[in-house]
């Protein structure tokens, strides 16, 4: 299953050293979520670290994307808006500052 990811994003992935082609981007990151990808230091780090953070963060924040970003905001809850701000702060830090280093593992 292919995803029609924007050309800018594909360019960015290429800049990071990941060989993906516009119009032929797969569904999941091949470097981590396939068995050959997982059995590398880089792949295992991505899968296990990401999973741990998602589990820890969702319990700590008392909700995840569907819980806070969709249901919580739909119920006009301030704590949910705050949690979503947190999701984006964390996400932006990851894609801009941490992910490029993890890719070098």
């Amino acid at each position: 299953m292919m995803s029609n990811i924007s050309p800018e994003t594909v360019g960015l992935l290429n800049d990071l050293g990941l060989e993906y082609e516009y119009g032929k981007v797969p569904y999941v990151l091949q470097e981590a979520f396939t068995w050959p990808g997982f059995f590398t230091l880089r792949g295992a780090t991505i899968v296990i670290l990401a999973g741990f953070l998602v589990g820890f963060g969702a319990r700590y924040a008392g909700g995840c994307t569907s819980g806070h970003a969709i249901s919580g905001i739909a119920n006009l809850q301030w704590p949910s808006l705050l949690a979503v701000c947190g999701f984006f702060i964390g996400g932006l830090i990851m894609v801009n500052f941490i992910f490029p280093f993890i890719l070098k593992l």
């Binding site: 979520f33 963060g57 924040a61 008392g62 806070h68 949690a83 947190g86 996400g91 941490i98």
Partner: protein, 138 residues
Amino acid sequence: MFNTFKYILVGLIFGVTMYQSEAASWFRIFEMFHFQSFHMYGIIGTAVVLGILIVQGFKRGVMKNMDHQHVEFTDKNKSIPRYLIGGIIFGLGWALGGVCPGPMFVLIGAGYPVFIIFLFATMLGTVAYGALRSKLPH
């Protein structure tokens, strides 16, 4: 019989939506965090607008659940640290793994068995939270 089936039905709709909308795609999440496409904002925005209407429908008694009962919403406790710090930790993981807790189950079913390991890692995260809970600011 229908009582059990209805949960499966709702889960099925959720799972198919997550997969077909590509909200479960690692690349869509990466793209979203780089603000390079409207795609994910369109999905989440539509869900929020629909959610507001449905929640208001429940609160005003216009809508009832499948058992014809009134749906109550419990407000979240107001505080800052747990939502902000917890949210940041969740965001770090969401951007790295490209999935939040819903899509990880969808992807196991979609034929990506590595997400079983991801699932165990999330459970490890919740156990770690449980162990540290009393020491964390909430």
